[in-house]
């Protein structure tokens, strides 16, 4: 359990009418930005292309949609534009640059097999490293991008409804049932926060 989820479940868990229009405008902008062919607000186009290629390796389309289908590159762009601190922005930018050098030539010039091999190798290095310590920059990039891809994907509509399962209005609570009888038996979508 992450902190927020934890606080929410253990502790329970201005301006309503006035702020509503501006609040809802933010939601509309969010919906619009998820359309394909979005205009990046934080990264350059070549950086977005690289991030897109990497998230497609992390969560590809299979019998269900993948991270790119779910608008994850745009999600990552928005997170860096609005949510992360300057230090986090710099860390990611530097890691991205380092990652782009790690394969001998620019990542997008590698073929599909080489790209996958590089991402897999750096991911392995990142998770083999010491807990609580950031891995070397190129591996750090892969791990950070994995977290971002998972967060963007598993909170997206395809992620919540086609890979996981989501009930907007469950209507009832069944505390203890066989897994096979819990909806379609897959994990329920839940709101989660990951730190970079």
């Amino acid at each position: 359990m992450n902190r927020r989820e934890w606080l929410k479940c253990v502790s329970a868990l201005a301006m309503g009418a006035v702020a509503a229009p501006s609040l809802l405008a933010a939601f509309d902008a969010h919906a619009a930005s998820q359309a394909p062919g979005f205009t990046p607000q934080f990264f350059t186009r070549p950086q977005v292309d690289l991030i897109t290629a990497v998230v497609d390796i992390i969560l590809p389309r299979s019998s269900t949609p993948g991270a790119v289908d779910a608008g994850v590159p745009s999600f990552i762009d928005q997170m860096f534009k609005a949510v992360y601190t300057p230090a986090e922005q710099e860390r990611y930018q530097a890691a991205l640059a380092s990652f782009d050098r790690a394969g001998g030539k620019p990542f997008l010039q590698l073929d599909a097999a080489q790209r996958k091999a590089l991402v897999t190798k750096l991911h392995g290095e990142a998770i083999a490293g010491k807990k609580g310590k950031n891995p070397a920059p190129a591996a750090d990039f892969v791990l950070m991008t994995k977290k971002l891809a998972m967060m963007g994907f598993f909170l997206s509509q395809p992620g919540c409804t086609e890979v996981l399962q989501y009930a907007a209005v469950p209507g009832a609570y069944h505390a203890d049932i066989p897994l096979s009888q819990a909806g379609n038996g897959k994990a329920w979508a839940v709101e989660t926060v990951l730190t970079l």
């Binding site: 329970a12 702020a19 392995g124 909170l155 209005v169 009888q181 994990a187």
Partner: protein
Amino acid sequence: MDKNTYDAIVVGTGVSGGWAAKELTEKGLKTLVLDRGPMVKHGDYPTAMKAPWELPYADQPTQEDIRRWPKHTRPSFYGITQSTKHWFVDDLDNPYEETKPFDWFRGYHVGGRSLMWGRQSYRLSDLDLEANGKEGVGVDWPIRYADLAPWYDYVEHFIGVSGSVEHLAQLPDGDFLPPMELNCVEKEFAGRLSDKFSRKLIIGRTANLSGPLKHDKSPQRATCQYRNLCMRGCPFGAYFSSNSSTLPSAERTGNMTIVPNSIVYEMIYDNAKGKATGVRVLDAETGKQTEYFAKVIFLCASTFGTTHILLNSTSSRFPNGFGNDSGELGHNVMDHLFGIGVSASVEGHEDRYYSGRRPNGFYIPRYRNVGSDKRSYLRGFGYQGSASRQNWSRLVDEPLLGDDLKRAAEEPGPWRLGMSGFGEMLPSHSNYVTLDHNHKDKYGLPVLNFNVAHGDNENRMKKDILDDAMEMMTAAGYRDVRSYITPANVGAAIHEMGTARMGRDPKTSVLNGWNQMHACNNVFITDGSFMASSACQNPSLTYMAMTARAAKYAVDELKRGNI
């Protein structure tokens, strides 16, 4: 003057103000209800039906949000999200000073924090109400459980509290709707605690409608749909808020006049009559000043809201703040110990799951300093927690990518159980708030300055909260038992109380046993300010019961011509 004159004025529309409005209007008083924030009608909850993918930024606060809410985004709080931030006051516009750090989390709008509260609802018992007197701490409560019990019945019946009957002297049962269920791991843990420690673990008691209300006075309220998005406001009216429950009843009487955006900044006192005659109000949008008058005034602006108004109301009669003959106004600030907890991994039960999102957890009622148990500190604590199956975030550090990662995420993860303590804090004169005349808010009003810290008793109890939780989870056979200490200041439990305590002696307390001001008998305070001790139970149910009780008394006294 006539047009601004009512029988009663209620200041605040949160948990306590909503109840005051309902009770006074139902008893026939023409009542003016004031709140400093904007109107929120039941149903006016802009984010209530948003799916996860409709929320920008994975529902996290942006840098701009953190700039606007530097205090509300402290690690001890989780309310500044894209789906709930509109219910919390902007820290830049609503500043306060901290001689000692204090977490003050609040919302200014009609409904107050009844909209965002966690709905956990527990009764106090005589163990709590007798403790001050027996131990010589603070002042003795002027009431006992027998005074409160019928009023707990009354408010529980009206708002609907779901819970189980347990026959515990330290946590009296109530007039409950059906209890929600524990899941398989919670049940197993309950069994092990009972076997190894003879301690109880029960389902939380929560003001969510697990079944229909037992009355027909709130047609706008439907049963819970198990979405667990309550903090956004519930379009089904399935949890108690002023907006969904008490204010609609007050409205239906035809006796309520509600004026939002009304910042009450001062009491009006009539020296000749020896009474409060009304309040002075600043319009939050236009700055216009208005005076309102009434025979009786209920202050329900939340503990610090009310304290602010009283400290800001000085006169020749009350040079140190309205009703402050005792010198206790603003003192004895209490909250609950918060943020200390433990979680553990639970093996097995892989073939069991749940469906629906239960807006509730389990509760381990207080067992320390109960019966023959004796500790090196006074009072005790309870735990609140839950067990659930881990989600996809467990896979970040697993060597999985691509299709393998997707497939693994489809499966519910292993079980994890977590709980944290809510501990009692003792009243102390040295924990207080003052008005800081060197710092003014945008309306030119002095801000509150906090001078509150935990003492020796609290620090000793904190250690037990952590050690006991570790011991219970380890004894239950769980693995990877990890403690968790959230950086939290006093206030983080959002159960602030005590600044205008009740007591028998006007020399040492602000209110009498009817929430009536010793020094001015037509002023009643029924928000958390009145609390003479904090107990360790979530307090709002007690504020409701005491509000209803005080309203009955006030109306009777009006009829008798005593006020």
